[in-house]
Each structure stands twice: as C-alpha cells, then as structure tokens.
Symmetry: D2
C-alpha cells in the first residue's frame, strides 16, 4: 500500500497509447512536429485561451523554475507561501534558474496566502530598496501543498493585490486538475479570468509519465522563453512523446476524470481518519489527506507495511497523535484505500 506520493503511481493507458500512436515516421525535432502542435492547441482550448503560449517540459521542478526565471530577474523577490513547493521541494531550482532570485515566504492557513497578508508583505517589499531586491512575482500553488484549494474569488483577490503592485501572478498547478475537479469551475475561471498570468499545469501527478505544460496567457511574457528552456536542457529533441502525454490527458476530459478518481479516494481516507478518532489538519479538497491519527493506528499501518510520509518531516516521529500525509492517485487500488481506511478506523 503506497500513499507516499501521487508520483509513485503509473501512467494511464491512454497516455501510453498516445505515445505509441506518435511513434512512427520522421518528423522535425524540438517541437516542430504535428503532435506538439495539437497538444499545445488542446491546452489552449482547455483553458479557453487561444492566444496563450504553451510549452511542455518533463518535470514539475523545471516548469516552475523556468517560469519563475522568465518572470523574475536575478535580483527579484518572488513571494510564495512558507510551504510552497518552490520553496521547500525543488532544491532551490528557482534560485538556480533565475540566478539568485529571493523567495520571500508568507504564512497562511491551509497552505493558502490571503490577500491582506500579501498586500502587507508587498508594502514592506516596496520599501526594501537595493538591499532587499525588487519585487518581481507572486506565486501560489493550487491545489496547495496542504491539499486545500483556492477558489476563483480567492485567486482573483490575490491577483488584484499582485497586479496593483505591478507584479504578475504565477500558479503552480502541479495538482491543478485536482483543484478544478473539486471546485467544479472552468479552468479559465480559475486562471486567466481570475488574473493568473502564468500557469504550470501538471500532468505527471495525474496520469502522465512525465509531462507538464507551462502557459503564458499573455504571449509577451513568453519573450525569449524557448531559448531559456533550451539552455537549461529542457527542450526535448523528440518532443512528440512529451506532447502526446499532455494531448492524451486533454482529450475527452481524461485529466479531470483522473483527478476526480484520486480526489474521491482521498475523501474515503479523510472520512476514515475522522471515524477513527483522528483529526484532519486541513479539509480534504484534493488528493491529499493531512491528518493527525492515533499512534495506535499509525503503528498498525506501519506493521502492515503502508507507505506514507510523516508531516511535515520525520522529526515528528514518536508523537501521539501522529501527523502525516496520505496521497492518492487515479490508480491507487480501491482495495488499498479500503484496507487503509479500515486501519484508520480500527
């Protein structure tokens, strides 16, 4: 039983099929092939953004770091949540790609920044002068690192604050599909209509092998971006196989279907936590369950060989209740979910 991460799980068969379908004949490399063109168009359609620039890379870290570097100079300040993936989990890739941008982190309940905190922080940031660097970008994650979501109004409030300060808004959407599945809104409502300027739309955690889309809603913001991607080694020469993955996910709503499946499994686990006397640290709004469960339940899970991460890190070892994170994927076996739910309830 593996609830450690959604990237522990496999690719959807339709993804593999799309790759196989792309696997014949000679095409021009580096993205000048028809599959790439179709996949980029499919993402634009999905987002109702016919003018957007869409590009693909194979990892989420690359996607976020490239977009951060595109939107921030080396002396820029990038505002994000204390627990943002770009801050905690990308080995300082945004700093590396941007050549030194400073991540300025903000607290916020449930992994979400609120607009008032952002406004206050940007006010401070506007006064730091040469010493502190120049405010450059606001970045949020949706669904967040705590499994919660920003709804379109919350995004719009943040975008409004960012734009008032002259800053673009980036959304790390490694689990964007899970957020949309929960909110039931349109992808456009959650992004550009709410003021998002650049989106990283994840495929890897949602049924792809390794594929992420980067979207600049205003093409002017993508100026020179292909060079940046190339220089960092993230232009695939046989790009069709990367594009095929995103194309498969964007076809017939597969991306949303897979996210729904993962979210549903998380709901089952979340309910089991509560039933078993544990406490949800955050409401379950995507495919992650953040909970504190009785040590006895944790011990049973360990004895059964269940894999998951203590939260926020191993230093909580020995606590009672035990804080932890359970992540589900579209293909987490229902039997495993049921078995874990039983452990949590017992």
């Amino acid at each position: 039983m593996n609830f450690a991460s959604d990237n522990s799980y496999a690719a959807h068969p339709a993804v593999l099929t799309a790759m196989a379908d792309a696997n014949s004949g000679a095409v021009m490399g580096y993205g000048a092939d028809p599959v790439t063109a179709r996949a980029e168009a499919a993402i634009r359609d999905l987002l109702e953004a016919p003018e957007a620039v869409v590009r693909f890379v194979a990892t989420g870290t690359a996607a976020n770091a490239l977009v951060c570097a595109q939107l921030s100079p080396s002396f820029g300040r990038i505002y994000c949540h204390d627990d943002a993936h770009i801050e905690t989990s990308e080995c300082a890739a945004p700093e590396f790609f941007s050549h030194g941008a400073k991540l300025v982190t903000l607290p916020g309940e449930g992994g979400r920044i609120d607009a008032a905190t952002l406004a206050q922080t940007l006010q401070v940031g506007a006064g730091v002068g040469l010493n502190g660097g120049r405010s450059a970008l606001v970045s949020i994650t949706n669904a967040t690192e705590w499994g919660t979501v920003y709804d379109p109004d919350q995004v719009a409030a943040l975008a409004s604050v960012a734009h008032a300060a002259g800053l673009p808004l980036h959304m790390d959407g490694a689990r964007f599909a899970n957020a949309v599945a929960t909110l039931g809104c349109s992808p456009a409502d959650l992004t550009w209509r709410a003021g998002v300027d650049a989106l990283c739309l994840g495929g890897t955690k949602n049924g792809a092998m390794g594929a992420e889309a980067m979207v600049f809603f205003d093409p002017a913001r993508a100026e020179g971006f292909d060079y940046r991607r190339k220089q960092s080694g993230h232009v695939m020469s046989k790009n069709r196989y990367l594009a095929a993955q995103m194309l498969a996910l964007a076809t017939d709503g597969l991306w949303l279907d897979l996210a729904h499946r993962a979210n549903t499994k998380a709901q089952v686990l979340g309910q089991a936590v509560v039933d078993g006397g544990g406490r949800l640290l955050q409401p379950v709004q995507s495919n992650g369950v953040f909970a504190a469960i009785p040590k006895a339940a944790h011990d049973r899970a360990q004895a059964a060989g269940v894999l998951y991460h203590l939260w926020p890190d191993k230093t909580v070892q020995g606590a009672d209740p035990v804080p932890l994170r359970l992540v589900t994927a579209w293909d987490t076996p229902d039997a495993d979910v049921a078995a874990m739910a039983a452990i949590l309830r017992s």
Copy 2:
C-alpha cells in the same frame, strides 16, 4: 524523406514495450524504483564498470551540461573542438549550468582534436592566470560532429595529455553506439580503459524517446551530483519510464544493433555521393554523411522534398557543389535511402 537528424525518427518498439512493462503498480519516486536500479546496473555491465555511478536524464544537452558543471567550476576552462556540440548546439547550456565556465575551442581535422594540439593548448592555458581562468576539463565527442570516430588509441592519447595536466576527460557520446558499431571495440576499451572519466551515453538518437545516461567511472567525481541534477529540474519523479528506455537499449545488444542499422544506411548514401561525382568531406564512420554534392543533385533532392541541412549553415546556399549533412537513423526507411541514393547518383 528525412535526413535532417536522427532525432527526427521514432523510438524502437522494444523501448515502448519496456515502458509499458514498467507501467504498473506503485513504486517510490525519484529513481528509487527497481527499473531504475536494473537500468543503472545494465549500463554498468555494458561498460564493464561495476563501480561507476550511472544516472539518467531526458536530453543530451542536460547530460552534457550537467557533467560539465560537475567537473568544472564557474571559472573553469573547458577544452573542446571548434565544432563540438557543447559549443555550437546547446545554447550555452554548459556555461549556464556551470555558472560561467569558458569553452576554449580547438581546431582539428574531421571534428577530432589531436593530442599535440591539445597539449599545446593546455600549455597556453596553464599560463593564463586569473585573467583566463583555470583549466578544468577536456571534452571530446565520439562519434564526432563530423561523423568520424576516435579509436581507443586516439582517446587514450588525449586522456594522457589531459591527465598529465590534471584534467579529467569527458566524452559526449550522443552517438557513442554508432562509434562502437564502427570500431568493433568494447565500450570499456573506448572509455575508461582509454582514460575517459565521464561519459554521456546517448539513447535519444538511437531508438529511445528521450533518454541519456551519464556515467562517472570514479564515484568520487559524482559527489553531490544528484543535487545538481535535481536543482536543474532533471530528476524525473517517475524515473522508471526514463530508465526503462535505457534498459531496453542495453538489453540483448539492441543499442548496437540499432547503431549498426543506421551506420549501414549512411554507408549507402556515402557511396552514392561518390558515385554521383560528389565529394565526401569526411569519411563515413557513423550515421552521418558530410558531403559536397553537385548543385544539380541538390536541386533534384529539393524538388523531391528531401529534408536535410546545408552545412555548416544556410549561408552556403547557392554554392556549387553544395555542402550538406545527411543523417540516418535505425529506422530511416530503406526505400528512402535508396531513393536518395538514386538522386545522388543521377
């Protein structure tokens, strides 16, 4: 008909099968999965290098740039051929990854550096002091960017010069398989036994979708390398799909078989060039044909819609004879090869 690049072509079915075989169940991410372990072992076996550190990335630019950055400080001088891929075709990725290393290029017949030229250049480099930076690395490409190969003795001569100056030797082996197929030597003879310290062993141009191995023969040289790879966004969370590609190529000699096929097709085209009154700019020793052909033949090829690159670039347009590059892949259709040969001969 496409002779533009080997990366215009497809992945071998066995590669796709290996990815499909890897596509079930939950495994730990970031390379801590059994497919990755098997693939790394397969590469070590292939190279008869049981102690080597092997890692995978999805692009050749990433592979080369990461290895360069691992082996050179920002103030390092990296010696390579005037026409080295790292100099001409990677958008200054080595400079980006290393934070400023200087590529010092050397002339050399057929894309090859010779040992005497290298020795002389290193002697100059030893005297440039703070102004010129510190000599750090020698990098060669095998097969070269001109389709020729270094044999083990030539590699050993260069390694000897590099090592005498205290520098490691890197081999960009994007087409390493093609070189081995031509030389008929063992991979070990062409690398570590000849003094190569780090190898980039390409899969992408040889039947993979996008997979390259980086090999450090002395594990000490790989110190911290996984962090470097992660920070640049080149650690795949679902690494099994990357590893599966290299595993397929390394199984039952597929990699060599595919390279043989591509090389054979190039031989056919090379002979046709000569037969048709053209001139080979270099002997055909891998899967690339560099030739000057009569303008009439070029015009016929253009009329037939054949894709290939003028060489070294478009500014030769209008020349007679026309210098060009023809590249073959394992799956370039034999009919296309025959048709192009006929055009060249006519």
Copy 3:
C-alpha cells in the same frame, strides 16, 4: 545629525595617509605588490593566524557573498539568522554568487542564533533530501544586526554544532571590531579558537573608505578562491590602495580604537533613551542602538532634521513608541551625540 548608518561617515586620516604613502612608483598589479603583502600579513598577525589565507575586497556584500559561494555549492543550504545581513540587505548576492544556494533562516533573540535552535534546524536539514538541498554552511554576524555580540563561548557552541554536522562556520564581521571592543577578548579567541572557519573582517564601517578582509583559517578552504574573486570583478588591478586601508586600520590598534569610539557614543545614546523613558529593544553592545522611544521624542528629532531609520522598516510609521535604529561611527561628532541625547531625554 546623522545616525542613519556607520557608512555615512568618513575615512580616518590615517587611512588616507596610508593610501597616499602607497601612491608612488610602479608595482605589479592584482595584489602582487608589497603593500598587499604587508596588509595580508598584518591581518594574519592581528588574528594570530599565520597560516590563514587573507584577501581583500571593496564591499561587505562582496566579501560575504564570495565566502558563501566558496563554502556552499549551488544546491547548498546556508543557515543564518532571520535578520542576517546576508538575508535582508545584500540583494540576494549570496544566491547570485553561489548560483542558487538557499538561505535557511532561524529565529533568535537579539539577532543571535542559539546552539539548540541550530542543532534542531540542522537535524531537519539533514532530512530534506534532494528536495531541500544539502546543508552547506552556518553563518553568523558579530556584532549582530541588532547591535548585540556573541562571546567566544557562544561562538564555540555554534561552531561545535555546525562542525558536528560537517558544516563550516562563517562569521560576517562587518562590525567585528565593535564586537571585539565590547568583549575585550582577542580576535583569535572570537574566531578560529572558537571554531570559526571563515571571517569577513570589515573595514568600511570602521574608518576605511571601502575595504574588507576575507580570511580562511584553513588554507584548503580557499582553493580556487582567487579565480572566484576575479570572475566576479572583485580583484582590484591596483590592489595596493585597497590593501593600504586595511593596513592602516591594523596598525597600532587603530581598528580597535575607532570601534571603541563608536561604541562609546552608542552607550551615551542608549543611556539617553532609558533616561527619556524609552525602551532599549536590545542591550547596547556595539555601535547600534535599537530602541522604542516616545513619539514626542521622535517628532522632536524629526523636527531637528536628525537622520535615522525606523526599525525594522517604514511600516512602523505612526507607532508610539517609535521603534528605531541609531548608529554611531568613530567620527560621529560628540556634539551631535549630545544634542541627540538631549532630544531623547527631553
């Protein structure tokens, strides 16, 4: 009246004299001159560190950033106080020079990190894996950004924790002289005898025009450092003028004398704060006074045109009492100190 910063003030006449003395005849450039040799020796003597590598640069930001980059790879984690100058006031220079190192900040009373907090943070840092980067360096500032000092025992406790984790300890000593003047200890006791591995010893804030020494107590840690300094444009071709400044300060204890003068002036202001009903936010242990003073006193000072910074930034405008920072220099006029003291007391 200017209490805004110690770098608002002038250079000591002896510094100017030393520069004039150096200003004749031809010498070799880039530090290969006799004044540089003497100045480096003088700093080694001052620190009782005959083996140390000493180099000079013109700015404190360069000194800190170069040392950080020397001691941390791009994927390193550099631990420092929340209010460390390298975090708040150097425009992300450490990140720029190191190509992406992550500054991990720790809270701590009075601008000081304590050993227990550090130990706990390093324990977390040891578990973050590829995602979080590799622990590389601990950096402390002495005197701190809050005007307090670490004594040798406190430094030793931190060094012990850092070394136990395999990390070197860096001391940002932009106001090292002020700390030594307060503590009355030997520079060696406060640095290498307490476990400091690298020191930035400031001159600029203490009577120089623009001169800082960087000291690596173990020469092995300085490997390649001159190239790093050169590549960042911080090797002066006419280095004698930079070295002359540090030589003047190191001669006949001038550096300590100047620091004593500045510290004494700060004591006067600190007492006046208390006398006037204000509150010292931190004890006055160097040349900075951090206090909250009655708004009426602040208004009087503003009316008198006194320059100083609100603390930590302008967003405190309007508070009562008003938090602020007053900084003194060796040459802050005593009349100004007295006048400001009167305002504070009134």
Copy 4:
C-alpha cells in the same frame, strides 16, 4: 623599469586630493551623496549626454561584465574580437554575470572588427536558432587590445550593422581616454553620435586608484541596473570616494591630459623599436606598443630588469625576433622611457 601594464602605475595627485576633499562629514550612503551626483554630472557633461545614466564601479572587469549582463540574457550571443579583453582577460566574468551568455569572437586586423566581417557573422548568428542562442550584443574595445583605435566612422559602421540586426553596441573604453587623445575627436563623436549604446569609461588605467564609469546613453537600457550592481557586490556604501576619483579626472580635462602623456611616451618607444631594427606589429595609436624586437635587444632589456609581457603569451619565449607588449602610463618616468628606448635602439 616597468612597461608591464598601465595598472602598475600610481594615481594622480589630483585624484588623491579629490578623495581627501570628499573625506569629511556624514552623507547618505550607496551613492546618495553630493560627490556622486557631481561626478555623474561631470561624466554626462564630458560626453554631452545629459540624459545618460552614469554609474561607477571599482574595476574594469565589473564594468564590462555588468554592462554585458544588462544587455544580454543568459542565452545571448555577445559578439567581440578574438582578442577582446572580455574574452581573454576577465576570467569569464561576462559569462558569470550574465549566467551563461556566449562570447562569439571575430578575427580582425589590429584588434579591430570590421563591419563586413561583423555583418557576415551576424547573418550566421541569425540562423543558429535555439541551438546557438540569440544574438544580443556587439562589443568593441577602444583603444583596442592591440593599441589601435577605431575612429568615429569605423564605430559608426559597426553600430550601423549592429543596429540593423537589432543589437546594441557596447564600447569597452578601459583606454577610451587614450583613443580620444589620439583621435582628437569629441567623446560624443566617438560614442553616442556614432551609435554606441553603452560605454565603459576607464579611470583605473588612467590615473585613478580604481574607478570606472558605466554609461547608458538611453536610460531605458539601464532599467534595473542598480539592483544588478548591488547584487554583484559592486555598489560601494561609501560611494563618494569612488566618485571623487572620476570627478577629479573629469575636471579641467585631466583625463585627456594624462592620456596624452601616456600616448606620447608610447610614441617614443615605438620609434625606438623601428630605429633599432624591430618591427611594429601594429601602429602605435594609444599607450601600448606591440612589436617584435631583435632577441639581442630583448636580452639586454631582461638583463636590465625591465618588466613587460611577451605577446601574446609566454609560449613565444625563445623566438627571434621577440614579440612583446610595452605599456606606458601617465607617470611612467621619462628617464625609464629614454633608457628603454636606448636599449631598443642599441
């Protein structure tokens, strides 16, 4: 006798006096002081460029590298001469500051690029696509590294080619004063009126201790530049001492007077080379003499302890005639010049 470099020599007394004059009282730091304002204005006046943005740094490497990084993205191609200082003598600082820009070097007689060669190279550069990076900047040195000068027409021809390709033109003017002194033109004619977009105007080699001006004729090109300078540690907190040096040079034509003196001494040496049967490798047009002299003369000079560099490097040791470089400064003793001339003639 020292003809090794102009930076072996001293600062002019007027420079020291200006620094002493600036050395009193408290001013705001980081360039917000009256001396800096006056010095920036003086440089604008000197260049008849009232709108230009002028900033100072302490080293020529910093000046060039900062301007290059300001005008080129990391994926940019910077075109310069094979022997450009930014290519050969700055330890890859432009690459470091820009995070990877590629210096593409061009041959050219006398250290000068000609417009036809540039046009041809830019045409190639326009076709290299993602592989080769994006053309970003043309950089020339005036006076050149071979002691020759570009006149305003030559500069204008290059600017015209650069601008036609959409690229700005940078002039490395470490010895700009020497060029102006030779040409007798106005600084404006040699720079912005001829199409130069950014100038590094050297002081260090011309009587300063360590001071260079960076000039952006169009303020829009300086956007964010102060942050860039700060992040690289090149904003002096006590900027008045840096500015005072440039102010002294710009006052009453001192900069031109000093350059004239140095140039005159070089003329004497150049004539002596010819008289003594040596050969001038380039005409003497500034303060450098590049010549091949009889080995006997070289041996005599060595015996007399004269310092100078073999050219282009030590590997010419043993040649007859001996190629070398002799550099003069404003304060190279006339007696030394006479003595060396006698050696050359004998």
